[in-house]
Protein backbone atom coordinates (compact mmCIF):
# COMPACT_ATOMS: atom_id res chain seq x y z
CA UNK A 1 0.00 0.00 0.00
CA UNK A 2 1.17 3.55 -0.73
CA UNK A 3 1.20 4.55 2.92
CA UNK A 4 3.67 1.79 3.66
CA UNK A 5 5.68 2.91 0.69
CA UNK A 6 6.06 6.33 2.24
CA UNK A 7 7.14 4.68 5.51
CA UNK A 8 9.79 2.61 3.77
CA UNK A 9 11.07 5.60 1.83
CA UNK A 10 11.48 7.58 5.02
CA UNK A 11 13.32 4.72 6.71
CA UNK A 12 15.53 4.22 3.69
CA UNK A 13 16.35 7.93 3.56
CA UNK A 14 17.26 7.92 7.27
CA UNK A 15 14.54 10.45 7.95
CA UNK A 16 12.15 10.49 10.92
CA UNK A 17 8.74 8.93 11.15
CA UNK A 18 6.40 11.34 12.94
CA UNK A 19 3.23 10.56 14.94
CA UNK A 20 0.79 11.39 12.14
CA UNK A 21 2.65 9.36 9.54
CA UNK A 22 1.27 6.00 8.54
CA UNK A 23 3.36 3.15 9.89
CA UNK A 24 3.18 -0.63 9.97
CA UNK A 25 1.28 -1.90 12.97
CA UNK A 26 4.21 -4.12 13.98
CA UNK A 27 6.54 -1.10 13.95
CA UNK A 28 4.10 0.78 16.13
CA UNK A 29 3.75 -2.13 18.52
CA UNK A 30 7.50 -2.69 18.74
CA UNK A 31 8.04 0.96 19.52
CA UNK A 32 5.30 1.10 22.12
CA UNK A 33 6.75 -1.94 23.86
CA UNK A 34 10.28 -0.60 23.77
CA UNK A 35 9.47 2.96 24.81
CA UNK A 36 7.15 1.76 27.55
CA UNK A 37 9.76 -0.63 28.88
CA UNK A 38 12.24 2.19 28.80
CA UNK A 39 9.85 4.52 30.65
CA UNK A 40 9.06 1.84 33.22
CA UNK A 41 12.80 1.34 33.75
CA UNK A 42 13.21 4.99 34.62
CA UNK A 43 10.38 4.78 37.14
CA UNK A 44 11.43 1.52 38.77
CA UNK A 45 15.04 2.67 38.58
CA UNK A 46 14.21 5.46 41.00
CA UNK A 47 13.84 2.91 43.80
CA UNK A 48 17.32 1.44 44.22
CA UNK A 49 18.85 4.88 44.20
CA UNK A 50 16.32 6.66 46.34
CA UNK A 51 17.14 3.97 48.90
CA UNK A 52 20.23 6.05 49.71
CA UNK A 53 18.93 9.63 49.57
CA UNK A 54 18.05 9.74 53.24
CA UNK A 55 21.47 8.37 54.18
CA UNK A 56 23.74 10.16 51.71
CA UNK A 57 27.01 10.89 53.50
CA UNK A 58 27.26 14.62 52.73
CA UNK A 59 24.69 17.28 51.94
CA UNK A 60 26.27 17.86 48.55
CA UNK A 61 25.96 14.18 47.63
CA UNK A 62 22.42 14.16 48.93
CA UNK A 63 21.51 17.04 46.64
CA UNK A 64 23.19 15.44 43.63
CA UNK A 65 21.47 12.11 44.23
CA UNK A 66 18.08 13.67 44.78
CA UNK A 67 18.45 15.66 41.58
CA UNK A 68 19.43 12.53 39.75
CA UNK A 69 16.41 10.57 40.90
CA UNK A 70 14.28 13.55 39.98
CA UNK A 71 15.77 13.46 36.49
CA UNK A 72 14.69 9.85 36.22
CA UNK A 73 11.11 10.81 36.99
CA UNK A 74 11.48 13.45 34.30
CA UNK A 75 12.80 10.90 31.82
CA UNK A 76 9.83 8.72 32.62
CA UNK A 77 7.57 11.64 31.76
CA UNK A 78 9.24 12.33 28.39
CA UNK A 79 9.13 8.67 27.50
CA UNK A 80 5.51 8.13 28.43
CA UNK A 81 4.73 11.23 26.38
CA UNK A 82 6.67 9.76 23.43
CA UNK A 83 4.73 6.50 23.77
CA UNK A 84 1.46 8.44 23.90
CA UNK A 85 2.18 9.83 20.43
CA UNK A 86 1.71 6.23 19.28
CA UNK A 87 -1.87 6.12 20.50
CA UNK A 88 -1.56 4.55 23.95
CA UNK A 89 -2.27 6.26 27.23
CA UNK A 90 0.07 6.50 30.19
CA UNK A 91 -2.59 4.85 32.37
CA UNK A 92 -2.68 1.79 30.10
CA UNK A 93 1.09 1.48 30.18
CA UNK A 94 1.33 1.93 33.93
CA UNK A 95 -1.34 -0.68 34.35
CA UNK A 96 0.71 -3.09 32.22
CA UNK A 97 3.73 -2.42 34.39
CA UNK A 98 1.82 -2.97 37.61
CA UNK A 99 0.25 -6.20 36.40
CA UNK A 100 3.55 -7.52 35.11
CA UNK A 101 2.52 -7.52 31.44
CA UNK A 102 5.29 -5.14 30.49
CA UNK A 103 8.85 -5.36 31.75
CA UNK A 104 11.45 -2.92 32.95
CA UNK A 105 15.20 -3.27 32.89
CA UNK A 106 16.25 -6.25 34.99
CA UNK A 107 19.19 -4.39 36.45
CA UNK A 108 16.87 -2.68 38.91
CA UNK A 109 16.05 -6.00 40.50
CA UNK A 110 19.37 -5.99 42.30
CA UNK A 111 19.56 -4.32 45.72
CA UNK A 112 21.64 -1.26 46.57
CA UNK A 113 23.43 -2.55 49.65
CA UNK A 114 25.85 0.28 50.32
CA UNK A 115 26.47 3.87 49.38
CA UNK A 116 29.09 2.72 46.88
CA UNK A 117 26.29 1.06 44.93
CA UNK A 118 25.05 4.54 44.08
CA UNK A 119 28.43 5.16 42.52
CA UNK A 120 28.45 1.83 40.73
CA UNK A 121 24.96 2.39 39.35
CA UNK A 122 26.02 5.78 38.04
CA UNK A 123 29.22 4.56 36.51
CA UNK A 124 28.26 1.11 35.23
CA UNK A 125 24.49 1.05 34.90
CA UNK A 126 24.14 4.56 33.52
CA UNK A 127 27.25 3.90 31.47
CA UNK A 128 25.66 0.82 29.92
CA UNK A 129 22.42 2.72 29.41
CA UNK A 130 24.27 5.43 27.50
CA UNK A 131 26.00 2.91 25.24
CA UNK A 132 22.57 1.41 24.59
CA UNK A 133 20.84 4.73 24.13
CA UNK A 134 23.21 6.92 22.15
CA UNK A 135 22.32 5.05 18.96
CA UNK A 136 18.65 5.53 19.81
CA UNK A 137 19.14 9.28 19.35
CA UNK A 138 19.16 8.40 15.65
CA UNK A 139 16.19 6.08 15.92
CA UNK A 140 13.72 6.30 13.06
CA UNK A 141 10.80 7.39 15.24
CA UNK A 142 11.07 11.14 15.77
CA UNK A 143 9.56 11.63 19.23
CA UNK A 144 11.59 8.74 20.66
CA UNK A 145 14.81 9.98 19.05
CA UNK A 146 14.27 13.49 20.41
CA UNK A 147 13.47 12.21 23.92
CA UNK A 148 16.66 10.16 23.81
CA UNK A 149 18.80 13.14 22.90
CA UNK A 150 17.66 14.95 25.99
CA UNK A 151 17.91 11.86 28.17
CA UNK A 152 21.39 10.89 26.99
CA UNK A 153 22.71 14.30 27.84
CA UNK A 154 21.49 13.98 31.41
CA UNK A 155 22.60 10.36 31.66
CA UNK A 156 26.16 11.19 30.80
CA UNK A 157 26.07 13.77 33.56
CA UNK A 158 24.83 11.04 35.93
CA UNK A 159 27.51 8.68 34.77
CA UNK A 160 30.19 11.22 35.56
CA UNK A 161 28.71 11.73 39.01
CA UNK A 162 28.78 7.99 39.66
CA UNK A 163 32.35 7.82 38.54
CA UNK A 164 33.19 10.67 40.85
CA UNK A 165 31.63 8.90 43.83
CA UNK A 166 33.74 5.82 43.18
CA UNK A 167 36.83 7.92 42.53
CA UNK A 168 36.45 9.61 45.89
CA UNK A 169 35.84 6.33 47.69
CA UNK A 170 38.82 4.69 45.99
CA UNK A 171 41.03 7.46 47.31
CA UNK A 172 39.44 7.52 50.74
CA UNK A 173 39.90 5.32 53.78
CA UNK A 174 40.54 1.59 53.49
CA UNK A 175 36.90 0.97 54.41
CA UNK A 176 35.68 3.33 51.68
CA UNK A 177 37.92 1.70 49.12
CA UNK A 178 36.55 -1.69 50.11
CA UNK A 179 33.00 -0.42 49.67
CA UNK A 180 33.82 0.76 46.17
CA UNK A 181 35.47 -2.50 45.10
CA UNK A 182 32.65 -4.55 46.60
CA UNK A 183 30.08 -2.55 44.67
CA UNK A 184 31.91 -3.03 41.37
CA UNK A 185 32.24 -6.73 42.08
CA UNK A 186 28.48 -6.99 42.46
CA UNK A 187 27.39 -4.70 39.63
CA UNK A 188 29.83 -5.61 36.84
CA UNK A 189 28.16 -8.72 35.44
CA UNK A 190 24.59 -7.50 35.86
CA UNK A 191 25.66 -4.41 33.91
CA UNK A 192 27.05 -6.55 31.09
CA UNK A 193 23.76 -8.41 31.06
CA UNK A 194 21.93 -5.12 30.39
CA UNK A 195 22.78 -5.47 26.70
CA UNK A 196 20.55 -8.49 26.53
CA UNK A 197 21.14 -12.04 25.37
CA UNK A 198 23.98 -12.82 22.93
CA UNK A 199 23.22 -12.04 19.29
CA UNK A 200 22.86 -15.74 18.61
CA UNK A 201 19.80 -15.85 20.92
CA UNK A 202 18.35 -12.41 20.39
CA UNK A 203 14.80 -12.48 19.11
CA UNK A 204 13.67 -8.99 18.20
CA UNK A 205 16.90 -7.63 16.87
CA UNK A 206 16.81 -8.22 13.15
CA UNK A 207 13.51 -6.52 12.44
CA UNK A 208 14.39 -3.61 14.76
CA UNK A 209 17.62 -3.14 12.84
CA UNK A 210 15.75 -3.05 9.56
CA UNK A 211 13.37 -0.45 10.94
CA UNK A 212 16.32 1.54 12.21
CA UNK A 213 15.04 1.44 15.75
CA UNK A 214 18.08 -0.51 16.75
CA UNK A 215 21.44 0.30 15.13
CA UNK A 216 23.89 -2.14 16.70
CA UNK A 217 23.66 -5.69 17.95
CA UNK A 218 23.68 -6.61 21.65
CA UNK A 219 27.16 -8.05 21.43
CA UNK A 220 28.55 -5.03 19.58
CA UNK A 221 27.23 -2.72 22.27
CA UNK A 222 28.44 -4.95 25.09
CA UNK A 223 31.93 -4.95 23.57
CA UNK A 224 31.85 -1.19 23.25
CA UNK A 225 30.89 -0.93 26.94
CA UNK A 226 33.65 -3.25 28.10
CA UNK A 227 36.23 -1.38 26.07
CA UNK A 228 35.06 1.88 27.58
CA UNK A 229 35.10 0.61 31.17
CA UNK A 230 38.57 -0.91 31.21
CA UNK A 231 40.35 2.40 30.92
CA UNK A 232 38.01 4.10 33.37
CA UNK A 233 38.55 1.34 35.94
CA UNK A 234 42.27 1.96 35.66
CA UNK A 235 41.73 5.64 36.38
CA UNK A 236 39.61 4.65 39.37
CA UNK A 237 42.29 2.29 40.55
CA UNK A 238 39.66 -0.41 41.07
CA UNK A 239 39.53 -3.88 39.56
CA UNK A 240 36.88 -5.26 37.23
CA UNK A 241 36.06 -8.70 38.62
CA UNK A 242 37.06 -10.65 35.50
CA UNK A 243 40.35 -12.56 35.44
CA UNK A 244 39.89 -13.23 31.69
CA UNK A 245 39.86 -9.57 30.80
CA UNK A 246 42.69 -8.80 28.36
CA UNK A 247 43.32 -6.78 25.23
CA UNK A 248 42.92 -8.68 22.01
CA UNK A 249 44.96 -6.87 19.34
CA UNK A 250 43.43 -8.98 16.56
CA UNK A 251 39.91 -7.90 17.35
CA UNK A 252 40.94 -4.48 18.57
CA UNK A 253 38.88 -4.97 21.72
CA UNK A 254 39.02 -6.63 25.10
CA UNK A 255 38.30 -10.30 25.58
CA UNK A 256 36.05 -10.76 28.59
CA UNK A 257 33.88 -13.23 30.45
CA UNK A 258 30.24 -13.15 29.40
CA UNK A 259 27.66 -12.52 32.11
CA UNK A 260 25.61 -15.41 33.42
CA UNK A 261 22.71 -15.38 30.97
CA UNK A 262 20.87 -18.04 32.94
CA UNK A 263 20.79 -15.59 35.82
CA UNK A 264 19.60 -12.87 33.43
CA UNK A 265 16.68 -15.01 32.27
CA UNK A 266 15.84 -15.91 35.82
CA UNK A 267 15.71 -12.23 36.76
CA UNK A 268 13.72 -11.34 33.62
CA UNK A 269 11.24 -14.07 34.40
CA UNK A 270 10.63 -12.50 37.81
CA UNK A 271 13.02 -14.28 40.15
CA UNK A 272 15.71 -11.69 40.80
CA UNK A 273 16.53 -10.58 44.32
CA UNK A 274 14.19 -7.58 44.24
CA UNK A 275 11.55 -8.15 41.53
CA UNK A 276 8.76 -8.64 44.04
CA UNK A 277 9.92 -5.74 46.19
CA UNK A 278 10.16 -3.30 43.30
CA UNK A 279 6.73 -4.10 41.92
CA UNK A 280 5.14 -4.17 45.36
CA UNK A 281 6.61 -0.74 46.10
CA UNK A 282 5.31 0.70 42.83
CA UNK A 283 1.87 -0.82 43.36
CA UNK A 284 1.69 0.50 46.90
CA UNK A 285 2.66 4.00 45.76
CA UNK A 286 0.11 3.83 42.97
CA UNK A 287 -2.65 2.59 45.26
CA UNK A 288 -1.87 5.10 47.98
CA UNK A 289 -1.99 7.89 45.42
CA UNK A 290 -5.37 6.84 44.08
CA UNK A 291 -7.43 9.12 46.32
CA UNK A 292 -5.21 12.08 45.46
CA UNK A 293 -5.52 11.58 41.71
CA UNK A 294 -9.25 11.12 42.10
CA UNK A 295 -9.51 14.35 44.10
CA UNK A 296 -7.52 16.27 41.50
CA UNK A 297 -9.84 14.98 38.79
CA UNK A 298 -12.93 15.87 40.79
CA UNK A 299 -11.63 19.37 41.43
CA UNK A 300 -10.77 19.85 37.77
CA UNK A 301 -14.27 18.78 36.78
CA UNK A 302 -15.86 21.15 39.30
CA UNK A 303 -13.68 24.01 38.13
CA UNK A 304 -14.57 23.39 34.50
CA UNK A 305 -18.24 23.34 35.43
CA UNK A 306 -17.90 26.62 37.31
CA UNK A 307 -16.14 28.25 34.39
CA UNK A 308 -18.89 27.01 32.08
CA UNK A 309 -21.63 28.29 34.39
Amino acid sequence: PPADDYFHQVIAADQKIEPRDAMPEAYRRTLVRQIAQHAHSEIIGMQPESNWISRAPSLKRKAILLAKVQDEAGHGLYLYAAAETLGVSREELVDKLLTGRQKYSSIFNYPTLTWADVGAIGWLVDGAAIVNQVPLCRCSYGPYARAMIRICKEESFHQRQGFEILYTLARGTAAQRELAQDAIDRWWYPSLAMFGPPDSDSTHSEQSMAWKIKRFSNDELRQRFVDMCVGQAEVLGLALPDPQLRWNPDRGGYDFTQPDFDELFQVISGDGPCNRQRLAHRRAAHDEGEWVRRAAAAYAAKSAERRAA
Partner: protein
Protein backbone atom coordinates in the same frame (compact mmCIF):
# COMPACT_ATOMS: atom_id res chain seq x y z
CA UNK B 1 26.50 24.99 71.44
CA UNK B 2 27.47 28.10 73.39
CA UNK B 3 30.58 29.72 72.03
CA UNK B 4 32.18 31.95 74.63
CA UNK B 5 34.16 33.87 72.02
CA UNK B 6 30.95 35.25 70.54
CA UNK B 7 29.11 38.19 72.01
CA UNK B 8 25.45 37.88 72.87
CA UNK B 9 24.19 39.38 69.69
CA UNK B 10 26.39 37.10 67.66
CA UNK B 11 25.17 34.05 69.53
CA UNK B 12 21.59 35.10 68.82
CA UNK B 13 22.41 35.56 65.13
CA UNK B 14 24.11 32.15 65.06
CA UNK B 15 21.09 30.52 66.71
CA UNK B 16 18.69 32.22 64.32
CA UNK B 17 20.55 31.14 61.21
CA UNK B 18 21.03 27.66 62.62
CA UNK B 19 17.33 27.38 63.37
CA UNK B 20 16.33 28.40 59.86
CA UNK B 21 18.94 26.05 58.40
CA UNK B 22 17.69 23.17 60.52
CA UNK B 23 14.09 23.89 59.46
CA UNK B 24 15.12 23.64 55.83
CA UNK B 25 17.29 20.57 56.33
CA UNK B 26 14.72 18.53 58.20
CA UNK B 27 11.98 19.62 55.79
CA UNK B 28 14.17 18.48 52.88
CA UNK B 29 14.77 15.11 54.51
CA UNK B 30 11.07 14.53 55.05
CA UNK B 31 10.09 15.71 51.56
CA UNK B 32 12.72 13.46 49.99
CA UNK B 33 11.05 10.48 51.67
CA UNK B 34 8.32 10.90 49.05
CA UNK B 35 10.80 10.15 46.31
CA UNK B 36 9.51 7.28 44.17
CA UNK B 37 6.23 7.15 46.07
CA UNK B 38 4.33 10.33 45.12
CA UNK B 39 0.74 10.12 43.85
CA UNK B 40 1.90 10.65 40.28
CA UNK B 41 5.08 11.29 38.31
CA UNK B 42 4.52 15.02 38.03
CA UNK B 43 4.30 15.17 41.79
CA UNK B 44 7.45 13.08 42.17
CA UNK B 45 9.21 15.77 40.15
CA UNK B 46 7.60 18.62 42.07
CA UNK B 47 8.30 17.23 45.54
CA UNK B 48 11.90 16.47 44.63
CA UNK B 49 12.19 20.03 43.37
CA UNK B 50 10.92 21.46 46.61
CA UNK B 51 13.13 19.12 48.63
CA UNK B 52 16.10 20.28 46.56
CA UNK B 53 15.25 23.93 47.21
CA UNK B 54 15.02 23.29 50.93
CA UNK B 55 18.26 21.34 50.90
CA UNK B 56 19.98 24.09 48.96
CA UNK B 57 18.80 26.73 51.42
CA UNK B 58 19.83 24.48 54.31
CA UNK B 59 23.35 24.19 52.94
CA UNK B 60 23.74 27.95 52.57
CA UNK B 61 22.28 28.65 55.98
CA UNK B 62 24.26 26.00 57.82
CA UNK B 63 27.49 27.08 56.15
CA UNK B 64 26.81 30.63 57.21
CA UNK B 65 25.90 29.50 60.73
CA UNK B 66 29.22 27.70 60.89
CA UNK B 67 31.02 30.88 59.93
CA UNK B 68 29.13 32.89 62.52
CA UNK B 69 30.01 30.34 65.15
CA UNK B 70 33.72 30.55 64.35
CA UNK B 71 34.30 27.04 65.64
CA UNK B 72 35.36 25.46 62.39
CA UNK B 73 32.12 23.63 61.70
CA UNK B 74 30.83 23.53 58.14
CA UNK B 75 27.49 22.43 56.70
CA UNK B 76 28.32 18.73 57.07
CA UNK B 77 29.63 18.96 60.62
CA UNK B 78 26.45 20.77 61.61
CA UNK B 79 24.15 18.41 59.73
CA UNK B 80 25.81 15.13 60.60
CA UNK B 81 27.49 15.50 63.96
CA UNK B 82 24.84 16.98 66.22
CA UNK B 83 22.27 14.92 68.05
CA UNK B 84 18.61 15.81 68.30
CA UNK B 85 19.02 17.81 71.53
CA UNK B 86 21.28 20.18 69.56
CA UNK B 87 18.98 20.65 66.59
CA UNK B 88 17.02 23.90 66.49
CA UNK B 89 14.27 23.22 63.94
CA UNK B 90 10.59 23.74 64.74
CA UNK B 91 8.59 20.63 65.59
CA UNK B 92 6.39 20.94 62.49
CA UNK B 93 9.09 19.89 60.06
CA UNK B 94 10.15 16.77 61.97
CA UNK B 95 6.65 15.29 62.23
CA UNK B 96 6.18 12.21 60.06
CA UNK B 97 4.97 12.81 56.51
CA UNK B 98 1.65 11.09 57.05
CA UNK B 99 -0.51 11.00 53.95
CA UNK B 100 -0.27 13.42 51.04
CA UNK B 101 -2.74 15.81 52.65
CA UNK B 102 -0.60 16.00 55.78
CA UNK B 103 2.50 16.64 53.72
CA UNK B 104 0.74 19.44 51.81
CA UNK B 105 -0.56 20.99 55.02
CA UNK B 106 2.95 20.92 56.48
CA UNK B 107 4.31 22.51 53.34
CA UNK B 108 1.58 25.16 53.25
CA UNK B 109 2.31 26.14 56.83
CA UNK B 110 6.07 26.02 56.46
CA UNK B 111 6.33 27.80 53.12
CA UNK B 112 4.09 30.60 54.37
CA UNK B 113 6.32 31.20 57.38
CA UNK B 114 9.52 30.84 55.40
CA UNK B 115 8.32 33.26 52.78
CA UNK B 116 7.42 35.92 55.32
CA UNK B 117 10.69 35.48 57.15
CA UNK B 118 12.93 35.32 54.09
CA UNK B 119 11.26 38.40 52.68
CA UNK B 120 12.08 40.30 55.84
CA UNK B 121 15.64 38.97 55.92
CA UNK B 122 16.17 39.81 52.26
CA UNK B 123 15.64 43.45 53.19
CA UNK B 124 17.68 43.21 56.37
CA UNK B 125 21.06 44.59 57.31
CA UNK B 126 22.97 41.30 57.28
CA UNK B 127 24.13 41.30 53.67
CA UNK B 128 25.12 37.68 53.64
CA UNK B 129 21.80 36.53 55.04
CA UNK B 130 19.96 38.94 52.75
CA UNK B 131 21.57 37.26 49.75
CA UNK B 132 20.55 33.79 50.88
CA UNK B 133 17.04 34.99 51.70
CA UNK B 134 16.59 36.76 48.37
CA UNK B 135 17.08 33.47 46.56
CA UNK B 136 15.04 31.49 49.07
CA UNK B 137 12.07 33.83 49.02
CA UNK B 138 11.46 33.09 45.35
CA UNK B 139 11.58 29.39 46.03
CA UNK B 140 9.20 29.74 48.98
CA UNK B 141 6.75 31.53 46.75
CA UNK B 142 6.68 28.51 44.46
CA UNK B 143 6.39 26.10 47.41
CA UNK B 144 3.51 28.08 48.80
CA UNK B 145 1.71 28.15 45.47
CA UNK B 146 2.18 24.44 45.05
CA UNK B 147 0.92 23.64 48.54
CA UNK B 148 -2.00 26.05 48.22
CA UNK B 149 -3.00 24.52 44.90
CA UNK B 150 -3.11 21.06 46.41
CA UNK B 151 -4.85 22.27 49.56
CA UNK B 152 -7.61 23.67 47.38
CA UNK B 153 -7.76 20.61 45.13
CA UNK B 154 -7.95 18.23 48.06
CA UNK B 155 -10.20 20.41 50.19
CA UNK B 156 -12.61 20.98 47.31
CA UNK B 157 -12.08 17.59 45.64
CA UNK B 158 -13.88 14.48 46.86
CA UNK B 159 -15.45 13.77 50.25
CA UNK B 160 -12.51 11.54 51.08
CA UNK B 161 -9.92 14.15 50.16
CA UNK B 162 -11.84 16.87 51.99
CA UNK B 163 -11.93 14.73 55.13
CA UNK B 164 -8.22 14.02 54.95
CA UNK B 165 -7.26 17.61 54.24
CA UNK B 166 -9.36 18.93 57.11
CA UNK B 167 -7.86 16.34 59.45
CA UNK B 168 -4.36 17.34 58.41
CA UNK B 169 -5.06 21.03 58.95
CA UNK B 170 -6.60 20.37 62.35
CA UNK B 171 -3.72 18.19 63.48
CA UNK B 172 -0.99 20.55 62.35
CA UNK B 173 -2.54 23.89 63.25
CA UNK B 174 -1.18 23.84 66.83
CA UNK B 175 2.38 23.68 65.46
CA UNK B 176 1.92 26.97 63.62
CA UNK B 177 2.52 29.01 66.76
CA UNK B 178 6.07 27.80 67.27
CA UNK B 179 6.65 28.19 63.55
CA UNK B 180 6.04 31.92 63.89
CA UNK B 181 8.16 32.46 67.00
CA UNK B 182 11.36 34.41 66.72
CA UNK B 183 13.82 31.63 65.83
CA UNK B 184 16.54 33.08 68.03
CA UNK B 185 14.56 32.93 71.22
CA UNK B 186 11.46 31.74 72.89
CA UNK B 187 7.81 32.35 72.25
CA UNK B 188 5.95 35.50 71.49
CA UNK B 189 5.97 36.21 67.74
CA UNK B 190 2.27 36.96 67.87
CA UNK B 191 2.40 39.60 65.22
CA UNK B 192 4.15 37.18 62.91
CA UNK B 193 1.46 34.59 63.57
CA UNK B 194 -1.23 37.05 62.50
CA UNK B 195 0.67 37.71 59.31
CA UNK B 196 1.01 33.97 58.80
CA UNK B 197 -2.65 33.39 59.44
CA UNK B 198 -3.55 36.13 56.98
CA UNK B 199 -1.89 34.11 54.23
CA UNK B 200 -3.08 30.65 55.23
CA UNK B 201 -6.67 31.41 56.14
CA UNK B 202 -7.82 32.52 52.67
CA UNK B 203 -6.33 29.35 51.20
CA UNK B 204 -8.30 27.23 53.63
CA UNK B 205 -11.47 29.17 52.86
CA UNK B 206 -11.02 28.70 49.15
CA UNK B 207 -10.47 25.02 49.85
CA UNK B 208 -13.87 24.93 51.62
CA UNK B 209 -12.07 23.94 54.82
CA UNK B 210 -12.87 25.02 58.35
CA UNK B 211 -10.24 27.29 59.84
CA UNK B 212 -9.33 25.93 63.29
CA UNK B 213 -10.04 28.17 66.25
CA UNK B 214 -7.14 30.28 67.46
CA UNK B 215 -5.46 29.54 70.74
CA UNK B 216 -5.41 26.20 72.50
CA UNK B 217 -2.57 23.74 72.39
CA UNK B 218 0.67 25.25 71.10
CA UNK B 219 3.52 22.74 71.32
CA UNK B 220 6.96 24.29 71.35
CA UNK B 221 10.51 23.27 72.19
CA UNK B 222 12.25 22.73 68.89
CA UNK B 223 14.13 26.03 69.07
CA UNK B 224 15.69 25.01 72.37
CA UNK B 225 16.37 21.41 71.34
CA UNK B 226 13.36 19.79 73.03
CA UNK B 227 11.91 17.86 70.12
CA UNK B 228 9.36 15.13 69.52
CA UNK B 229 10.32 11.48 69.69
CA UNK B 230 10.41 11.46 65.88
CA UNK B 231 13.51 13.55 65.33
CA UNK B 232 16.10 11.18 66.75
CA UNK B 233 14.93 8.45 64.36
CA UNK B 234 15.15 10.81 61.41
CA UNK B 235 18.66 11.83 62.43
CA UNK B 236 19.78 8.25 63.00
CA UNK B 237 19.01 7.57 59.35
CA UNK B 238 20.34 10.87 58.05
CA UNK B 239 23.64 10.51 59.90
CA UNK B 240 24.32 6.78 59.96
CA UNK B 241 26.75 6.58 57.06
CA UNK B 242 28.59 9.80 57.73
CA UNK B 243 29.14 8.83 61.36
CA UNK B 244 30.26 5.30 60.47
CA UNK B 245 33.32 6.76 58.72
CA UNK B 246 34.70 9.49 60.97
CA UNK B 247 36.74 12.04 59.11
CA UNK B 248 36.17 10.52 55.67
CA UNK B 249 35.60 12.62 52.53
CA UNK B 250 32.76 11.84 50.17
Amino acid sequence: MSTPALRNGEVARFEEVLGLGDDALIAAQRLAEWCARAPDLEEDVALANIALDQLGAARLLLSYAGELEQAGRGEDELAYLRDDRQFRNVLLVELPNGDFATTMAKLLFLATAQRLRYRRLAAGSDQRLAGIAAKAVKESTYHLEHAALWTVRLGDGTDESHRRMQLAIDELWPYSYELCDDPAGGAGGELAWQEWSAVVTPVLREATLTVPADGGWAPRGGRVGRHTEHLSYLLAELQVLHRAHPGASW
